[in-house]
Symmetry: C2
Subunit: 163 residues, 2 copies
DNA sequence: CGTGAATGGTTGAAGCCTCAAGTCAGCACG
DNA sequence: CGTGCTGACTTGAGGCTTCAACCATTCACG
């Protein structure tokens, strides 16, 4: 495969880019799986479910509208809707019609949901620390933040979320 | 939430770590979704299916045993087995019993499968370049490689893959 | 040799996500 | 008012992944 980069022949990744990409591909595949495994084993939650509860727990009144919450958890509205039904059945959150705008649904974290987050967070934080931060110097941590923001800017330009 | 770090009270993430983690969490959630979308739209393949075909295409004789291929594609053996059946139905790969070890199945990329990779790679590479490398300086690219390898070392210590 | 353990892979069921379609509320305009 | 349009969300079907159970083969070791 050439590296000339003509019009219909795309610029291939050079060796360095290729290795970097394989490494990143491994991370984006395996890291979510590892976090899901820890949460599933210790709390019976998927990473997405945990994100939903955790994001809600940091909101004023532990409340957010569905579409906003979907963005915070980096998922589609449809996905959130399905997950919200399951979490509601388990008593971790409640959905209420918004009095100001009849189209809007507000998701509210229940006391049981808040307790679940409090019980689950330490193990999850420990996993994140072990899998990500323990292997990095503080300089690398700063670099990672910048790099992550840059990539996120490309992947998700308007900060919201497709669905 | 305190930051004392006693025995049963875990060390919480400080503000900087927390922001870094939210950024990385966004990347590991949204980047695979974006790549899946491009591949699905332009080639009718999932990112995992593409990885399977692409990894095979770079092997001598375009052949690998199933468990080895699962590791290369960062998936479980079960997942690969299901995917291999679908790819086989589409004529992109074939499975043969290994003559040397009756337990082993070898996956072989067919000519149609190789052609599919050749046809699909340019668009995929362009997506990776746009989503990842276009936003980074060459220094950041080098940093990303190191950081990715470090994290991968924690997530996947023995280089193989859970299944 | 022969038996038990370990390895490599496949399968079926159950659950989750995506996609497209549908519902209902607000808004604009005649 | 009422007609059409957009926005917010829900729902159902279909496909993919996971999990556990299973089958076949090889290896270890009396």
């Amino acid at each position: 495969m050439s590296t000339t980069g003509s019009a219909d022949e795309p610029r291939w990744l050079d060796d360095d880019e290729r290795t970097t990409w394989l490494s990143l591909a491994g991370v984006v595949t395996l890291l979510p799986a590892a976090l899901d495994a820890q949460l599933q084993r210790d709390a019976g939650l998927s990473h997405f479910e945990y994100m939903v509860l955790a994001m809600l727990s940091e909101r004023p009144s532990r409340t957010a509208r569905m579409s906003e919450l979907a963005g915070l958890a980096h998922g589609s509205l449809s996905r959130l809707s399905h997950v919200a039904r399951r979490l509601e059945e388990q008593g971790f959150l409640a959905r209420r019609a918004c009095p100001e705008d009849g189209r809007v649904t507000n998701a509210v974290l229940t006391d049981a949901g808040y307790a679940k987050v409090v019980a689950t967070a330490p193990g999850h934080v420990a996993a994140v620390r072990h899998l990500v931060f323990d292997a990095l110097t503080s300089a690398q941590r700063r670099q990672l933040r910048t790099i992550g923001d840059r990539i996120l800017g490309q992947v998700n330009p308007d900060g919201s979320c497709a669905g």
